[in-house]
């Protein structure tokens, strides 16, 4: 044991001593997750014979203001669909098959600001709720147009025969 002591001490010293490090490539930093370009929800499935078409557009004068947006559609207080996420300056179209009858339709517009998360426009800037009569054999087209940076909007309703 006494003979072994120096050997054990030598091992212990070797363990305690700083180790020579073999230079290796530094590990790559973990990628910063990109800002989700789309809100976390599933897209509204396309319908074959829609009776309601929503078209949302916005007059964007300055390309630097051309962020992204989408619009939710509520019928009688229940969400029935939402447009795809896209540039404000592009037309967002949503086709739905709504139950027949006079339906109160409310639209809710959301925008992604330059900094921060998706933001619902304040109530005073949201389009007004209105009834839309959904009838067999016709397609209701509701056009929502924003201007002045969502400061004002217009809502126009037209009706056309359903394609046979």
């Amino acid at each position: 044991m006494r003979r072994l002591l120096p050997v054990l001490l030598a091992f212990a010293a070797a363990c305690a001593a700083p180790r020579a490090v073999t230079p290796t490539a530094a590990p790559a930093p973990a990628p910063v997750p990109a800002r989700p370009p789309k809100p976390l929800f599933s897209e509204t499935p396309e319908v074959n014979d829609p009776n309601f078409v929503l078209v949302v557009s916005e007059a964007v004068q300055d390309p630097s203001d051309d962020g992204v947006s989408y619009t939710k559609v509520f019928v009688d207080g229940r969400e029935v669909g939402r447009t795809e996420v896209g540039k404000k300056s592009e037309e967002h179209v949503l086709k739905l098959k709504l139950p027949l009858g006079n339906q109160p339709i409310r639209l809710e517009h959301w925008v992604l600001p330059a900094v921060g998360d998706w933001t619902r426009l304040d109530d005073e800037f949201q389009p007004r709720e209105r009834f839309v009569r959904v009838e067999d054999g016709t397609v209701v087209r509701l056009e929502l147009h924003f201007s002045e940076g969502e400061g004002s909007n217009t809502l126009a309703l037209t009706r056309e025969p359903a394609p046979r």
Partner: protein, 521 residues
Amino acid sequence: MTAMKLSTRFLAPLAAAALFAACGPARESGSNFTYQQASALKPGGVGVGTMRESKQPHWWRLDVKTDGVLSAKVGGIRDVDFVLSAYDADRRELLRVHEATVGGDEQFIGLGVSPGTYYIVLTDTKADSNNPTQEYRLETKFEPSHGRERQPNSSALSAQAIEADGTVRGWYWPTRNLLSDDPNSDYEHWFSVDVQKTGLFLLNVDVSEVPKVDPILEVYDTNGYKLQTADSGGVGEGESLRDFGVRGPGKFLLRLRSKYKGAGNSDVPFDLMTELLPYQGRTAFKPNYQRSDATPFELDTITDTIGPAGAADWFKVTISTDAKFLLRAEVSGVPAMELVLSLKDAYGNDLVAVDNAGKEQPQVMTGWGVTKGDYYLVVSEKTGKKVDARDAFTLTKKLIPWQTGLEWEPNDSTATVQAIKPGESVDGYFAPKGDQDWYEFNLYQKAAVELDLTGVINVAPEMTLFDQEYKELATAAAAKSGDPVQITRELDRGTYDVRLKPSDPAQNNVRDKYSFRVIVK
């Protein structure tokens, strides 16, 4: 001693004669037909000579000791048509005057000179002159140059530098610039103003009246672009340029000229008065005749004048908060004019034009819905022909936070209809002329609905009820101005629109609001 007395007796008269001769007019020294032979003349002195050799130019030399302005006048003599010129030491011709015909006087006024030699040259344009004995008299005047125009300054390149706060006196003389490529071109008076201080300033320029002359005053930048023209006065009247916006440091040019060819006045001077004031936002920052030059309208009121003819005055209103406001604006009346007030969006597109009142009446924009961004209030004279640099208008603005119960313009179509809930009321204006207001409400169950509209002085309103497909359901009109209107109707569940408007589109009221209510019974 005797010799001394004798010499004094004889020499004194001779000395006096010599002194007297020195004080009198200078005479041509022999042949003064070249600059080397020029006869000497003191600045401010008088020269006398004859046109014995009328085909030759007669040179007079003046040695100037200090800065100043030199004027010269030659009295006309029989059968001679004088041309009067001034040259510098290098024989560069500075001025040439030929305003009169045979036998007439010629003069220039206010040639700017510095220490050095100058020449005045007389020539005769008449080919067959024959007046070798009659003496002409060339009178010169030398004055300090402070506060004086220094000719030649008849081009932008030769513009005379002047202070931004001061007065310059000059003459509309000569009338023509004979040294120009086009000898028929008018003599123009150019001045350059160098603002060395940093900041925003307002420059006022006044040109005094001169008989027989209708002046035009123009402002140019250093690139030669005309920025503004003042031409509101007529013959014998002055011009006034008020509140011309200057961003310092900067330099710009003033061009003063007679409107009509050949018009001038060698007897009565003009005074060009300039005044530079720090810009404080109370008056328009000129020029503000286009969107990019709009005056920031930050205070509650701002003043401006109408002119030049056809120009509109732009004022920029910036909303910096994310909220809805009603912008109310009023422009005061101006004597003998009818003004129009317009509102434009950030890109200059028309939003509304207010043309309610007549001549000399104020124009009122009762309230327009605005949100974050830039807007422009634009004031113009209706005919586009009138100007008035003296009587200012006052533009007043008020930003009222919007709240439920207030009308939100624009609401003049089904696309821009304003939502209202049953049980609520909304206050609005029948203004400007031709206004119509649309309101929309939803009924979530069948009900009897009463629509109430209060009366407004000067307006006999009409109320029309539409269903959600914009089919007319009912209409009612006031019997006379100021009367209320009411519609009561049993309605199904759905959306309904109501249109309110004066029966006669010319009717309007910018002072009194109507109140509209939707009552579910």
